[in-house]
Symmetry: C2
Subunit: 431 residues, 2 copies
């Protein structure tokens, strides 16, 4: 069967979003996968594939795997804790003490196994992780993610100023550890790679930011950080860097704002100059609606960003966000966009369901390359959704679009019956 070499075919009700707002649906159709990639979607299978076995998911939905652009893996044990506080006291009282524990690789391994299992469970196939300052724990996270067959960028965090003693690095050690971490991990896994991860401006000295920017260039690595989450944080950055026009330009002056692919979490309060710079430099927004509500940060102007040409994806922001489920992050993104629409005098249109699905798949997926869609040439990352448990009465017949909407709003991990990453079916992690 030379013809069938490397070819796999699955069948079901296929839905994906080739662009923001566009939902393509192919009912009872075939996805032909060649190796890791989508070759095509067909309502009737072309003759050349007639002798290749089809995995027929029958009436199930097949959608792209979810992409989570912002997840603090070491904060997993803190989900749902401390939400009576705002960002800065929450960091001090909950986040930093927990992250300090990750000096102990045994503790890290125990938590990170649960993190990776939760991603698998909820259908997140690609993730951008913050680790901690600890390179051994962070390398362990990468190993677990790769073992599970999921894809991701994983960052050893840098922080050499304004940090609690237990998490404070010297500039030299931070740079040294980062480079060792990169060398150790950069070639080790196919779908899991390191990412340069300054925590945020207030915890990174100019020397550190310049140094890690050099590493990003030298090793050709992407960059992630936080931007304009909270007005107190922004005022602090202004105090620390009165020489800079705004928060974004601090990252920019040190070479951390788009020279390499860059994603910034939150971006709630960016001014017009910052937005223009993000569009110009193709800096991604990781929109984190749960976190931004839990920590009383605000509502990011998602549509405005997109209209200005800034790429946007979604982030759970565990543990500012308590939800791992990107389906729920989607519905929350829609909900807060509706409150923003009202607050704007009904000017800034709220997000629709197809738009939110785009953000959770191709929007964030493009940070990984051709990921998050079923167009030809895209990595085949997919979830197979059996939503039959969501049916209420046999006399109700929902359209594929309505079924998708119901899964997003009221489905859960029980409805995800298969997961694929880069063409490969991924089983439940055995740890």
């Amino acid at each position: 069967m030379v013809l069938g070499k490397d070819i796999a075919i699955i069948k079901g009700n296929i839905a994906f979003t080739p662009s923001f707002g566009q939902l393509n649906i192919a009912e009872n159709s075939f996805v032909v996968i060649q190796g890791k990639k989508v070759k095509g979607i067909y309502r009737a299978l072309p003759a050349e594939y007639r002798n290749i076995p089809v995995t027929d998911y029958q009436d199930a939905l097949i959608i792209p795997g979810f992409v989570d652009l912002h997840f603090h893996a070491p904060q997993f044990a803190n989900r749902g804790l401390g939400f009576d506080l705002e960002l800065l006291p929450w960091l001090e009282n909950y986040t930093f003490p927990e992250e300090a524990k990750f000096q102990d690789v045994t503790y890290a391994q125990a938590v990170y196994k649960k993190v990776v299992s939760a991603l698998w469970q909820w259908g997140t196939t690609r993730v951008v992780f913050f680790g901690t300052i600890h390179k051994a724990a962070t390398a362990k996270l990468m190993e677990l993610l790769a073992t599970a067959g999921l894809g991701g960028y994983v960052g050893k965090v840098n922080m050499d100023r304004n940090s609690p003693g237990i998490l404070m690095e010297t500039t030299g050690q931070s740079l040294l550890d980062t480079e060792m971490f990169i060398k150790e991990t950069i070639g080790r896994y196919e779908l899991v790679k390191p990412i340069i991860t300054p925590r945020f401006v207030p915890t990174c000295s100019p020397e550190l930011m310049s140094g890690i920017a050099r590493l990003a260039m030298q090793y050709n690595l992407p960059v992630q950080s936080h931007l304009s989450e909270n007005t107190g944080e922004i005022a602090w950055v202004r105090e620390l860097h009165p020489e800079c026009q705004n928060y974004a330009s601090v990252y920019d002056q040190f070479g951390l704002f788009g020279k390499q692919p860059t994603v910034m979490a939150h971006c709630i309060y960016n001014d017009d100059a910052e937005l223009a710079l993000m569009a110009k430099n193709r800096v991604y927004v990781a929109h984190c609606p749960y976190s931004n509500s839990n920590l009383a940060s605000g509502i990011a102007p998602v549509r405005k960003c997109i209209e200005q040409g800034i790429p946007v994806g979604l982030g759970s922001d565990v543990a500012g966000g308590h939800e791992v489920a990107m389906s729920r992050v989607m519905s929350m993104a829609i909900e807060v966009s509706k409150l923003k629409w009202l607050a704007s005098g009904k000017k800034e249109k709220f997000l629709t369901i197809p738009e939110a699905l785009y953000l959770a798949t191709k929007g964030g997926g493009s940070f990984f390359g051709k990921v998050g869609s079923f167009e030809a040439g895209y990595d085949f990352d997919a979830l197979v959704i059996d939503d039959s448990s969501l049916e209420v009465a046999a006399s109700n017949r929902y359209s594929v679009e309505d079924r998708l909407s119901r899964f997003i709003y009221i489905g859960d991990h029980h409805n995800i019956i298969a997961r694929y990453v880069a063409g490969k079916k991924i089983e439940k992690p055995q740890f």
Copy 2:
């Protein structure tokens, strides 16, 4: 064992909210229940109870059962559907066609079994239901709720104007059906009773409102409806009733605003005069944060209501809300209150976790009498929470308050291992 007659004792980590903002915790303590009611909570069991068997839930949490003040039972199949629309087109396109199906009692029974099962599953022990205009279907809902052992008020809906033909009653028939429905159900169940249910002002003529107000007085029944959910709706009411000062005074002039215990869903846009009238007449707010976000209605001023002496509980508002889980309605209530806090220039303080728990238990429970707390004399409605599946690493020790917070944010029905209503343990409905 005369002493033990009617006495039951359960043990665990007990938490409840005797007032808004106050969280009482009794670790490793005993609840003594006499018949339906709490007799007392003891850290050490008094000698008189020493020979009575104790149901020891060990390290589990024991909290009051959840109360849902607003739930459209016939919209259950519509959860997660049509959320790209605002209230009025959503009603026309999704809600009314679905409700029309409830003329068929067989269809109603199939859906209502799932509704009642979902309430049981998610730990809602008392509910205020909207049914449809159909008295047979609505009586069936009451029967199923009572069979399951849950408590509730259930309303046959009235609508005789501005309604689609399939749901339009004549005034006379609406009154006649309502009285028949009341007579048939009022004495039938101990914990399930009828409630007078004008849909909202736009669909009820003055004659109908006056007539059902008379029935409420005659049969001593509570009243539920909708109030000030949406600015378009408010403008419509103003057009229909230019003689009235505001929306609330329309209900008031027809005797439907607090002469009997009354609960109004939403109450987002009430003016000061309406709030004063609600406080004076002890009219409840059913705060429905999911629905108010999904339908882009707004954020109700919960704290302002409470500060003015208006009683407030929470509502899922299925299917404007997609979540049956009152734990999630709680976290959403907190989340939107934080966005409101920001929008108010940080003046209107956001809700804390103990405050949200109060709203979901005693706040709404007081509509049923002494319900929603573990103070002596309260009906013993309780949930036993095994949150061990939420633990992340053995080295993490959470306080009872933190465990409660984690259950609210990240727990689900799997964590609810026992439910009690009025002193009785309620098993999974066998339908």
